[in-house]
Amino acid sequence: MNSASSSRPITPGETLAKVKAGLPRRRAAERRFRAYGLAAIVGGLVVLAILLLDILFKGHSAFWQTRIELDVFVDPAMVAASSDERTRLMEADYSGMIRQGLGKLFPEVTERGRKRSLGALLSGGAPYELRDRVVADPALIGQTIPIWVTASPDVDMFEKGQLGAPDTDSFRLKSDQIEWLARLKQEHRLEKRFNTQFFSAGDSREPEQSGIWGAAVGSFFTLLVTLSLSLPMGIAAAIYLEEFAPRNRWTDVIEVNINNLAAVPSIVFGLLGLAVFINFFQLPRSSPLVGGLVLTLMTLPVIIIAGRSALKAVPPSIREAALGVGASSMQTVLHHVLPLALPGMLTGGIIGMARALGESAPLLMIGMVAFIVDVPGSVMDPATVLPVQIYLWADSPERAFVERTSAAILVLLAFLILMNGLAVYLRRRFERRW
């Protein structure tokens, strides 16, 4: 540029005029940017809402279960003769009692085929419900007791209006069965009641007897193992690498490896767990212990990376201040750096846990996909976890498992929301200004 243009005299108001001329363009750019952002958020929320509503719509009915009330005479003659009180109670002919109770309601049904259709209104688990009542209170023997027993899945689906049209294949109720149901309803012996079974039972082949509790406990034990291993190890590793480790080739290699591990597909960790924990260390298959160990391997890199960035975010002036008054490195970290980094570390940890909670692929590899009826009592018992349970149910042909799949997803989401809520709470609780 020549000197004339650079030393051009500035006329008053020139800057303002230029700024004003450019202003509409700047404003428009800003508005556009905001609109994009808003559109992205609204779009995301809409999709999320659709997803949630769909699951809620499909799944809410699983929280209710059709039950039928019978007056059952606990016939002492049908209680097995055995010296042992417990086997005597356990092996009584409860199905017979249930059949009698049902027969009393419909005395006109005498033909064999129709009797069978009548019995098909009830769940195969109904005798066990009676058994549990009697075992809990043997004094009931010899009395006639009113008892609400679970209806069969077809009845349940029919009552919930999910059985489809009467002329399709899936509609498996006969016309007289529908009549009987109407009569039961009239007599107030048929009701949809809160499905406690769903929240207290393990898995089952029969949809009406299956519950989420086994998988929830399995998830709990698995996450317990994961949390108690990965959080302390992850935080300790992050502190060591960030605050104490010398910067050299070795720590570089470690850092690169940790970053790479965080990106490894989770199923690979499952293979590793199968090879190391089960085949080599001979730990029990399908157990929450092995599941927890595998998920620990998977979440550890995430927690270390989150922890290190939380530590990096602590201003160095805080470290200098502490070192300056003569605190040791350990005191500096424990008294000043860690309290500031902890909210970030915990958030990272809980995000890692949430990921672990939703993980199924690596757990399939170590056998947590097995069909397990019993609710696990310890980390060594065979178990399954919520996402695997969802996968199993989604794969089942029975219609009644459809609503249960959605309900299980709701339970899983509730867990996730709970954990994220905890993360937010911890963040608020420990967050400090500096």
């Binding site: 002036s317 805080i318 008054v325 003569g326």
Partner: protein
């Protein structure tokens, strides 16, 4: 105050008549081993002795061969243009530069005859002995009380709570902050104003009772009243302690220090009695700086 007046007139005089460049270093009694520094780098009763100190930030050298003694019961002012390495040098004196990745210090720095860069040296007692006030106020994100009590507590300087409270009050009083915060000791230290924070940091440093205090521009964010309070504190502390203070204010250097060291581009250009350095600088660069021709 008298000396300050003299100084001011002297400075005014020098500003009016621009002297020709002069290099008196060769005429003055100074040991040739101590490089190019003009003036007396040694002190008769030295507490800290720095010899041929070089500091590197990675490949970049920030301090070039500095030799300097810091005497018992003296306040030495480090002056020089921005970026000349005053902070870098003062941070070497309590090994604060250890915390900077890629920072390397060569040469020897002794405290009472002991090399502080000796691998055997434990930095914890060293830093308890050599306190530091940083250029930017850096209170802990804890309460005001905790800020001051932290040092005495980790070093176990007090026997009980009452004693600790006394130390806290005393330190805050000496730093001229007590009256402003005595009712809000449980408020976070970070909620104070910049100048208050700096005084809090000073209180935190003196609470440990260090023998040497390094101050990096302690008054740059303070008003004249707080500055006067700190200067008075420095004067009190001098009776017991050794103080090195970095300052951009010549008046302050003149008021509080006995000796002054002038740094330029990482080199120690001139050091001498404060009055002499300000009224009669021997090096052209020093003269240019204090007469305000640059920096």
């Amino acid at each position: 105050m008298n000396s300050l007046l003299e100084l001011k007139t002297a400075m005014r005089d020098e500003r009016t008549e621009v002297k020709p460049a002069k290099r008196l270093g060769t005429n003055v009694s100074f040991d040739r081993d101590y490089g190019d520094t003009v003036g007396e780098v040694t002190a008769s009763n030295a507490r800290m002795v720095c010899r041929d100190v070089n500091v590197f930030y990675g490949p970049k050298q920030a301090i070039h061969g500095v030799n300097l003694d810091i005497g018992r019961n003296e306040v030495i002012a480090l002056i020089g243009p921005s970026g000349c390495g005053k902070s870098t040098f003062i941070r070497c004196l309590n090994r604060m530069n250890d915390t900077i990745v890629g920072c390397r210090v060569t040469g020897s720095i002794q405290l009472d005859g002991q090399d502080i860069y000796d691998p055997q040296m434990d930095v914890v007692p060293l830093r308890a002995q050599i306190g530091m006030v940083f250029q930017k106020p850096n209170p802990f994100p804890k309460s005001i009380y905790e800020n001051v009590a932290y040092g005495p507590r980790i070093h176990g300087l007090t026997q009980n709570k009452a004693e600790l409270e006394e130390v806290v009050e005393n330190s805050l009083r000496r730093a001229g902050l007590w009256d402003e915060v005595k009712d809000s000791l449980d408020q976070p230290g970070t909620s104070l104003s910049g100048g208050q924070q700096q005084r809090l940091c000073i209180a935190r440093t003196i609470a440990v009772n260090p023998e040497v205090i390094l101050m990096d521009e302690p008054c740059s964010a303070l008003d004249p009243i707080a500055t006067a309070r700190i200067e008075q504190l420095i004067d009190e502390l001098r009776m017991q302690f050794t103080i090195a203070i970095v300052t951009h204010s010549m008046q302050q250097a003149a008021r509080v220090s006995q000796r002054t060291a002038y740094f330029h581009l990482g080199k120690l250009i001139e050091v001498g009695e404060t009055a002499q350095v300000f009224t009669n600088p021997r090096h052209q660069l020093t003269e240019d700086y204090i007469t305000g021709r640059f920096g």
